[in-house]
């Protein structure tokens, strides 16, 4: 039993667990929408982009999350701007994300500020989670949950076919803004535990695993939330006992379950054939 109780001797573990569970649930809820919109790349791009904002924010004495939020908004605006100049969307994301990421790496590599630890920023660090993080993540999760609860059906309608949804009275543009805001919330709040490089994986792996098993989008969303939460908990214990960064631990747990589920599905399909 000590495997499960020992970590709680350390306050940081409890704090990290709360934050990880909230982020796992939040990413699990948004993930199916990201998956079916085929927006994995924009999730990855947005998460990479925030490194520049975080680095500059810390250097200029601002809050880490403030810098991340500004960078997320800036990257979305720049992608929109570049795309509207006739550049394909994947190219626009690649250029904007790489540029903002490069700014972040440049600032981090030239700074001696201890808060700008490149490994922690890239891959997450549970030791860095403090009470303020818990309050912020809890607040964001509650807001996101309310927004998602109230707009689930209209978001789904717009995700399935924006033109049809708009024709049937849904405020499609507003839903797109709400979705982008929800995505930015996940990316920014997951920064501390997951790091900027692994956020996209936590959005996609629970959703992709659930899609293989469940038929209805509602059940996929519920399963994705449960899986996201479970991966976060198991990954955090793994991180503690194996002394590996929290972000990779959570992603590796998810990837293992995804692979097992995929192999099981493939085997059962072959057996049925």
């Amino acid at each position: 039993m000590s495997y499960f109780t020992d970590p709680f001797q350390y306050d940081f573990f409890s704090r990290a667990l709360i934050v990880s569970v909230l982020i796992g649930a939040l990413a699990g809820a948004i993930g199916p929408f990201v998956l079916v919109r085929r927006m994995a790349y924009i999730g990855q791009g947005m998460s990479q982009s925030i490194l520049g904002g975080v680095a500059l924010g810390v250097v200029w004495g601002l809050d880490l999350y403030f810098g991340a939020a500004v960078a997320a908004g800036l990257s979305a605006a720049l992608i929109y701007f570049v795309r509207n100049r006739g550049v394909p969307v994947d190219t626009a994301i690649g250029i904007v994300a790489s540029t903002l990421f490069a700014i972040g790496v440049a600032v981090v590599s030239s700074s001696r500020d201890r808060r700008l630890n490149s490994a922690n920023l890239l891959f997450g660090n549970v030791l860095g989670v403090d009470t303020e993080d818990i309050i912020l993540v809890a607040l964001v999760t509650v807001i996101a949950a309310i927004v998602l609860f109230r707009n689930y059906k209209t978001l789904l309608a717009v995700t399935h076919n924006s033109a049809v949804a708009a024709a049937h009275g849904v405020r499609a543009r507003l839903m797109e803004v709400i979705f982008s805001a929800l995505l930015a919330m996940v990316v920014v709040t997951a920064l501390r535990v997951l790091g900027v490089l692994l956020v996209a994986a936590t959005l996609l792996i629970p959703a992709a695993t659930a899609t293989m098993t469940f038929r209805t989008f509602r059940n996929i969303t519920i399963a994705s939330i449960c899986l996201g939460t479970s991966f976060a908990i198991i990954g955090l214990f793994l991180s503690f006992h194996r002394n590996i960064a929290s972000g990779p631990a959570i992603v590796l747990v998810g990837a293992t379950v995804f692979a097992m589920n995929m192999l099981t599905s493939t085997t059962s399909q072959r057996n049925r054939a």
């Binding site: 609860f149 076919n161 049937h168 509602r218």
Partner: protein
């Protein structure tokens, strides 16, 4: 009644539509035909309210806003989406449903009633990817009906489906017209609309013909619409457009 007065639309310097004047009466069914690039989809998007005309105006004789049900072209992207038929149909009611993640029992009953009416109730728990082209077309119509429309807009409802399914879709469209819906559809299928619909609107940037197929479809109108020399013959009292035997080929 919906009346279009001198409607025009441009994408930048590209003038897609100009001087479109026509009207659509309650309960009628109209087929819009024309070649690719004729502005059929643009006109449909104007009627949907998705695009605002760059010239002219649209009048609605009714005091209330027109509730539009939209059936898009068959899209493989939509079919790979992890939704069941019932889930997709219910999304037609998303705009006026209560602000919670699930639909009420009354809405589910309404969806079942529509699915039964369209003959696909037994497929309600099937994933969209498991449907044939005709079944998916019916599911798209069911979603449009779920939005409680008075006007149904169907974009190329006969493309990508076999002849048997095409007839089924047509029968369904006629049944819906009998129920009082105003129906406007676009199609490339000239002879199909000529044989089956009471009114056609020929489009090639502007209206080149408008009325009953037997009156509108002449060699001259077909040439103005499609830019091709075609003969119009009559078979069992219906016009049929065929390749010209005199100088066949496009101009």
């Amino acid at each position: 009644m919906i009346t279009l007065h001198d409607i025009g639309f441009s994408y930048g310097n590209n003038h897609v539509l100009h001087d479109i004047t026509t009207d659509f009466h309650p309960g009628e069914i109209v087929g819009i035909i024309g070649p690719s690039g004729a502005g059929k989809t643009t006109l449909l998007r104007i009627l949907l309210g998705e695009l605002t005309p760059t010239q002219g105006r649209i009048n609605n004789s009714s005091s209330a806003n027109i509730a539009v049900g939209y059936v898009p072209q068959l899209d493989s992207g939509e079919r790979t989406f992890p939704l069941t038929v019932e889930e997709m149909v219910l999304l037609g009611a998303a705009a006026f449903s209560r602000k919670k993640p699930w639909f009420d029992q009354s809405e589910k009953r309404e969806a079942s009633r529509i699915l039964e009416r369209l003959g696909i109730l037994q497929l309600r728990n099937n994933r969209l990817s498991e449907l044939s082209g005709g079944q998916f077309q019916r599911a798209l119509i069911a979603r449009a009906l779920m939005s409680r429309p008075s006007l149904l807009l169907l974009d190329e409802p006969t493309s990508g489906i076999d002849l048997h399914t095409r007839q089924q879709v047509l029968d369904l469209v006629h049944e819906l017209q009998t129920d009082g819906f105003t129906i406007i559809l676009t199609t490339h299928d000239l002879n199909w609309v000529a044989a089956q619909l009471p009114r056609i609107l020929c489009l090639n940037g502007t209206v080149t013909g408008d009325g009953a197929p037997s009156e509108v479809l002449t060699s001259q109108v077909v040439r103005e619409t499609y830019g091709a020399n075609m003969d119009v013959i009559f078979h069992q009292g219906r016009p049929v457009v065929v390749d010209s035997v005199n100088n066949g080929g496009n101009q």
